[in-house]
């Protein structure tokens, strides 16, 4: 039973890791992209606010309105699962995992308000790194 819980947790972790990363990409801190201002270039990026390993994405945790007891249990499970993953993966794989970029947004860039009749412009798009064409070698 304990083994199946860990497998389930690992599967959840794998599926939500990318969601977590996408969350971070979709809500970057102000310095994570060049600012648009007169005459100069934006500064270097700041750290993400909600990084780290999560079994449930922070945004989902907020929406689920978890109790403090549930949050504690989830945090404990995250520590446990993270430790297990670190034992399973090789140091090189762990390094790769830490360097993985957030996945591109699926199903379109825009998530904002739709354009109104004769004047609306639609809302802002998702601001994570966009998917790019294949790189020339």
């Amino acid at each position: 039973m304990k083994k199946s819980v860990i497998i389930l947790a690992l599967a959840l972790g794998a599926s939500t890791l990318s969601l977590t990363a996408q969350d971070q990409g979709g809500a970057p801190s102000a310095g994570e992209r060049p600012s648009i201002r007169e005459g100069g270039r934006g500064g270097p990026g700041g750290p993400g606010g909600r990084g780290g390993f999560h079994l449930l994405p922070p945004r989902a945790q907020e929406q689920l309105n978890l109790t403090s007891d549930q949050q504690k249990q989830l945090a404990a499970l995250e520590v446990e699962v993270k430790a297990k993953i670190e034992k399973i993966l090789t140091p090189e794989q762990l390094k790769q995992l830490q360097q993985m970029r957030p996945p591109p947004p699926q199903g379109g860039m825009g998530r904002g308000r739709p354009g109104g009749a004769g004047g609306g412009q639609g809302g802002p798009g998702a601001e994570s790194s966009p998917q790019r064409p294949a790189q020339e070698q």
Partner: protein, 435 residues
């Protein structure tokens, strides 16, 4: 002189005439040569006109459109649409037709009008699509053939006599906004390059003689890029195909469609204005909800954000594209501001509100430059002529009072002539011509 010599002379003259006929078109694509918005150095169109002055001819079009005329020798080409979204009562998208019209440049005589039925599904005439309609992509010509992009109906090639040579479908999707098709095709060597972001989240190169696909780059993040790409010469003589998507500018290999470089731009949401390139630098403007303008030195490999982004500015335009000339970037924004930035630094030189423009988005057409003058056509308040200089000087505001339809198309210029389209007419403006 013997007959052989005469034959040689005749052949030489014939070949010379043939090359003249197939020479570089004067205004071959959206915003003229390489999309610069700048006419040939010897162009000097009128700076003032009205319904009674300097209008050489005026011809009723088969329907509205936001595309620009193009010019090749004695021919002018323009696209329009009819049957749906043009005031036709009770009609649905199945009645929509696109037109490619060829006119005689000096007389305005319609030489031919090819109508092409829309292939369904087509976006409904609602929301922002009403801002520009179904004929917003400007055709492109190599001087022998003309290539029209009709959105989900495809890319079509015609000869100069109106014979259809080929037709290629480039997708039937819509963006999540359903704003319709807008990007214009360009030519690169023997290919027609099409930003089909709206129709298929792709950029394609088609063989210009056969329509056969040479390469196709398909990525979801192209969505909401309505940009006409531009060819830019980089250091070392390499040419890159520059394109802006929400959040980034890309430099593609024009022979393969592979990504050479990219830069983060901060221009997010959607990108409508076309890119402009000068001296190896590409300028992009646009974005929503905030607009911005950015200058990126083309070239390099991979992420060039830290090395090649020269400057960014909040002075920007949502739809109209800029021109860059003699060290300055000129923007006439959708809201009616004339903006001049230093091309090297992005420093704001001036920002002046054009007088008398009303409404939230009074400009849809892009500014063009000829004879040291900027020509900025507003939807309803005429064409403003501004000195192309770092000091703002408004020279004229030219209205064609008997035409109450929108002027959404960017003018085309050759020699003394300026071609202006409204949703009802195509005008040839020329100094010394009567009303």
């Amino acid at each position: 002189m013997n007959s052989v010599k005469i034959l040689i002379i005749l052949l030489t003259v014939g070949l010379s005439l043939a090359s003249l006929h197939a020479g570089q078109p004067e205004w071959p694509q959206f915003r003229g040569p390489n999309g610069s918005g700048i006419a040939a150095a010897d162009a000097h169109p009128a700076t003032t006109w009205s319904g009674a002055q300097n209008v050489k001819w005026k011809v009723a079009l088969p329907g509205p459109g936001s595309s620009s005329p193009i010019i090749a020798g004695e021919r002018v080409f323009i696209t329009c649409y009819s049957g749906y979204g043009d005031g036709s009562s009770g009609a649905g998208p199945e009645k929509l037709q696109r037109h490619l019209v060829c006119l005689e440049r000096n007389s305005g005589k319609v030489l031919w009008d090819k109508s092409v039925p829309a292939e369904l599904p087509e976006d409904e005439y609602s929301g922002n699509l009403r801002e520009h309609g179904y004929a917003s992509n400007t055709p492109v010509t190599d001087g022998e053939r003309v290539y029209a992009f009709f959105g989900k109906t495809g890319v079509l090639a015609f000869d100069f006599d109106g014979r259809q040579l080929w037709k290629v479908n480039v997708g039937k999707q819509s963006s999540n906004r359903r704003w319709g098709s807008a990007a214009s095709p360009i030519l690169c060597q023997n290919t027609v390059i099409v930003n089909a972001a709206e129709e298929g989240r792709s950029v394609l190169a088609l063989d210009k003689l056969t329509g056969k696909e040479v390469w196709k780059t398909e990525v979801n993040s192209l969505e909401l890029s309505f940009v006409t790409p531009v060819l830019v010469e980089c250091a070392g003589g390499r040419s890159d195909l520059a394109l802006a998507v929400p959040g980034e500018m890309w430099g593609l290999n024009p022979d393969t469609g592979k990504l050479r470089w990219f830069a983060q731009t901060g221009i997010t949401g959607n990108v409508s204005p076309s890119l402009v390139a000068a001296d190896g630098i590409v300028y992009a403007t646009g974005g929503y909800p905030r607009q911005g303008t950015i200058a990126v030195r083309a070239g390099g490999k991979g992420d060039v954000t830290q090395t090649n982004v020269l400057w960014s500015s909040q002075s920007a335009s949502y739809v109209p594209s800029p021109v860059v000339c003699q060290g300055h970037l000129y923007i006439i924004s959708d809201q009616g501001s004339a903006i001049c930035l230093e091309a090297r630094t992005g420093k704001l030189v001036y920002k002046e509100r054009l007088p008398g423009v009303t409404g939230g988005k009074p400009f849809y057409a892009s500014v063009v430059l000829a004879g040291g003058h900027l020509y900025a056509t507003s939807r309803r308040n005429g064409t403003f002529v501004v000195q192309a200089a770092p000091t703002f000087t408004l020279l004229a505001q030219n209205k064609l009072a008997d035409d109450d339809t929108d002027f959404n198309g960017t003018p085309a210029i050759t020699g003394k002539q300026l071609f202006l389209r409204s949703n009802r007419y195509l005008y040839c403006i020329e100094s010394g011509a009567g009303g």
